[in-house]
């Protein structure tokens, strides 16, 4: 290899780099100037970036950059800005009661928007994205409430939860596990389950002694669910005469419920969410069509 820069290649008329391998000479084709300038600009950009932003890893830690920016501080700033923006709307919600908010269209608009967001974050996993519920998790849109469907009652339920041991004000009641605890025998359970189906205007099984079922119901169930099966909000005892059933209304489901009892739990949200969010949630749940 010989180096003779500046030599002109006689075929193309272009200068060569002076590099030659086995008679093949390399033409000197410099990079376009605009490309080089862009390249220099990127280098300059990188230098400024090193100075301004976190860049170099050290043994322990890293170069912080003079702006002191990290993704974490950026997120904190964004969250603070979002909270500040929300505070404006939330200020009015703080003092007003749920009933007062409901009467003020401006406050209600803010509360419903906040409630919708909070519902998606906290309630939707069990109650469904639209409050439609699922087996074991009440449908909040149907107008059938275990512990009451007025604004105050909904707010109380959200705040203190249901059968939530660590909240002293929680709704508590327990249906006995009639079969499991040996209070009723299997055929008695079948009889009362069929009677409950009649209360809900469903077809009972044929050949079952419904008179016996009625008597068992009056002796064991009417205390909480009422003589007519219309339930009792004080005890969270469901109304058995509607078409809306939390754990299903076919015979199998009813027999299981009477045998083992259900007694499901909802957490108290008063300690987890701030009072404004709880109020907003109460108003939103109340607005889903089932509110009373």
């Amino acid at each position: 290899m010989t180096a003779d820069p500046g030599q002109v290649d006689h075929i193309s008329g272009q200068t060569t780099t002076g590099h030659e391998w086995d008679g093949i000479r390399e033409l000197n084709t410099p990079l376009p100037r605009w490309w080089l300038w862009l390249f220099y600009v990127t280098i300059a950009f990188a230098v400024f970036y090193w100075i301004l932003y976190p860049a170099w890893p050290f043994v322990a830690g890293y170069s912080g950059g003079v702006l002191g920016y990290t993704n974490r501080t950026g997120l904190a700033a964004d969250v603070a800005a979002a909270q500040a923006a929300r505070a404006q709307g939330a200020a009015g919600l703080e003092k007003a009661t749920v009933d007062e908010i409901e009467k003020d269209p401006k406050l209600l608009e803010v509360a419903l928007a906040q409630g919708k967001a909070a519902f998606g974050d906290n309630c939707a996993p069990c109650h469904g994205s639209g409050g439609q519920g699922q087996k074991g998790y009440p449908n909040l849109t149907a107008g059938r409430w275990l512990w009451g469907g007025t604004l105050d009652q909904i707010q109380a339920t959200i705040t203190h939860g249901i059968r939530y041991a660590s909240d002293t004000d929680t709704h508590s009641s327990a249906m006995p596990a009639f079969g499991h605890d040996g209070i009723l025998k299997a055929d008695q359970i079948s009889q009362v389950a069929n009677y409950v189906r009649i209360l809900g205007k469903f077809e009972p099984e044929s050949g079952v002694d419904l008179g016996a079922g009625k008597k068992i119901f009056a002796d064991n169930c009417a205390v909480c669910h009422g003589e007519d099966g219309k339930g009792n909000l004080e005890m969270g005892a469901p109304n058995l005469t509607t078409k809306v059933w939390l754990y299903g209304n076919d015979l199998r489901d009813l027999v299981y419920t009477i045998t083992n009892a259900r007694n499901s739990v909802m957490p108290a949200w008063g300690g987890r969410l701030d009072p404004v969010t709880v109020k907003s949630l109460a108003l939103y749940v109340h607005s889903l069509g089932g509110g009373q």
Partner: protein, 480 residues
């Protein structure tokens, strides 16, 4: 195998742009261009400051793109984001007018009214005032960098940048209250985004009008390509009248030829038409992509023709058709009214009327209904079925209004909403703020134990009881 030198195509694939040094010219078309330029610039700078009286809570600027509240105002017109189709109509109208102007007078848009032409003209005027006319500029470019050249260059670029800055400055005035923004800008209190856009427009104006000029028309603009396909033999284009001009020869040769009874063209090959051309083309080569048809070569040629005592308009607005007709000894005909222009004018009239109708009949209220998807329907404790709907009301007037909402198509339907007042006949009354939209969750319930199809078509009717104006929206009621 080696290639011989003659086998290699040594023509470079890239040719550096040749700088154009347009010469000063005076005449009919130059005057017309100045008039259009001052009108265009005048409108551009004055428009944001024109006031227009509207409702007190609305801006008082006649033309305003209000990004923050997503409204567009143009005098008596106020458009909401969901009405951007008006802009589609405007764009269609603009292109049809461009087509019509092209069918009549060729590239008049390019030559007179295009912002690229207007600002390039302005920048050229500044350049000429500082560095002198064509000859001086050619000399200055070739001269070494001495004090005078540096001083002239700095002055020129500074003047260009000031104009560019004012251009960018005016552009942002269309997006906020202009008088307020001007004060904010000069006192450095304007939002950062305003400065950012001023910077962007300053850069584009400076580079497009100062440095790129005809390159924009030649390489960046799609219109010359489309225009070539849209023109026809009857369109008036800036034309070198070959039949009169050729054979071109010097004044002396022409005199000699004429004395011998030989034919001699009027073109004395003085190259004035090329010297004044802002895009540096030779019009004598015929219609071409680079020609923006500004007519400056007509002015230049007329001045020469006057001096050599030949008839004016050797270069003129003429048609291809007439070129051919003169060759065969026929008279010129100008057919401005022909199938093409009638079609364009008709389309413009139709589009304009449709837009006018849309604007006049523009509803002052709007309602859209969205069926709640989860749950699609609810079995209520009372035994009925309930469907949820999100109803969005728009009140496009500057006063607050109460709309009534009515549902029909479902027997015994009951409508409820926590944000609306129930009124007689099961209807709801919804209060909407001025110039605002409002979203209401509305529930429609069927009577207990009603026999329902899987899907029942229902109709929502929203009415402004004061004016009787109403909007009808159809949807469905779902049941298990």
């Amino acid at each position: 195998m080696t290639l011989g030198a003659d086998e290699i195509d040594d023509e470079p694939l890239y040719e550096a742009a040749k700088k154009v040094y347009p010469q000063k010219v005076w005449g009919t078309y130059r005057r017309l261009k100045w008039i259009v330029l001052w009108i265009a610039l005048g409108v551009y700078y004055i428009l944001p400051f024109i006031r227009w009286s509207r409702e007190p809570n609305e801006p008082s600027q006649a033309v305003l793109v209000d990004m923050a509240h997503s409204r567009f105002y143009a005098f008596f017109i106020e458009l909401w984001p969901q009405e951007v189709y008006y802009f589609t109509g405007l764009l269609i109208l603009a292109s049809l007018i461009l087509f019509l102007s092209n069918a009549l007078f060729g590239r008049v848009w390019c030559g007179y009214a295009c912002p690229q032409t207007v600002w390039t003209d302005l920048f050229l005027w500044v350049e000429r005032a500082i560095e002198g006319d064509r000859r001086e500029r050619l000399k200055l470019d070739a001269a070494p960098w001495d004090g005078e050249k540096i001083a002239k260059r700095i002055t020129k670029h500074a003047a260009w940048l000031v104009i560019a800055l004012l251009t960018g400055g005016a552009a942002v005035l269309y997006f906020q209250d202009a008088p307020t923004l001007v004060i904010e800008i000069v006192t450095f209190k304007a939002p950062l985004v305003a400065y950012l856009w001023i910077g962007i427009f300053t850069f584009t104006t400076y580079s497009l009008a100062g440095h790129m000029r005809e390159q924009v028309c030649l390489y960046m603009c799609p219109w010359p390509r489309i225009q070539a396909a849209l023109t026809d033999a009857d369109a008036l284009n800036v034309t070198y009248r070959v039949d009169r001009g050729e054979p071109r020869m010097s004044l002396k040769d022409a005199a000699r030829a004429r004395a011998h009874g030989e034919s001699a063209g009027d073109c004395i090959d003085c190259m004035q038409c090329v010297a004044v051309c802002p895009t540096g083309v030779d019009i004598r080569k015929g219609a071409q992509l680079g020609c923006i048809q500004c007519g400056l070569c007509i002015d230049a040629c007329d001045a020469v023709m006057e001096k050599v005592h030949r008839p004016l308009r050797l270069i003129a607005y003429d048609t291809d058709e007439n070129q051919d007709r003169r060759k065969s000894g026929e008279h010129n005909v100008y057919r401005l009214i022909r199938a093409r222009t009638i079609l364009y004018a008709g389309l413009i009239a139709i589009t304009g009327l449709v837009m006018l109708y849309a604007l006049i009949s523009r509803s002052s209220m709007n309602v859209s209904v969205l069926h709640v998807r989860a749950p699609l329907f609810t079995q209520t404790a009372e035994g009925g079925i309930r469907n949820g709907f999100t109803v969005r009301f728009s009140n496009k007037l500057g006063v607050s209004r109460d709309f009534t909402l009515e549902v029909s198509g479902l027997k015994g339907a009951m409508m409820t909403s926590v944000v609306a007042k129930p009124i007689e006949d099961g209807r709801l009354s919804v209060h909407i703020d001025p110039d605002a939209t409002f979203e209401a969750p509305v529930y429609v319930g069927s009577p207990a134990d009603a026999k329902l199809d899987k899907s029942t078509p229902i109709v929502f009717t929203a009415t402004d009881p004061r004016t009787g104006e109403h909007v009808i929206v159809g949807d469905h009621f779902f049941a298990p």
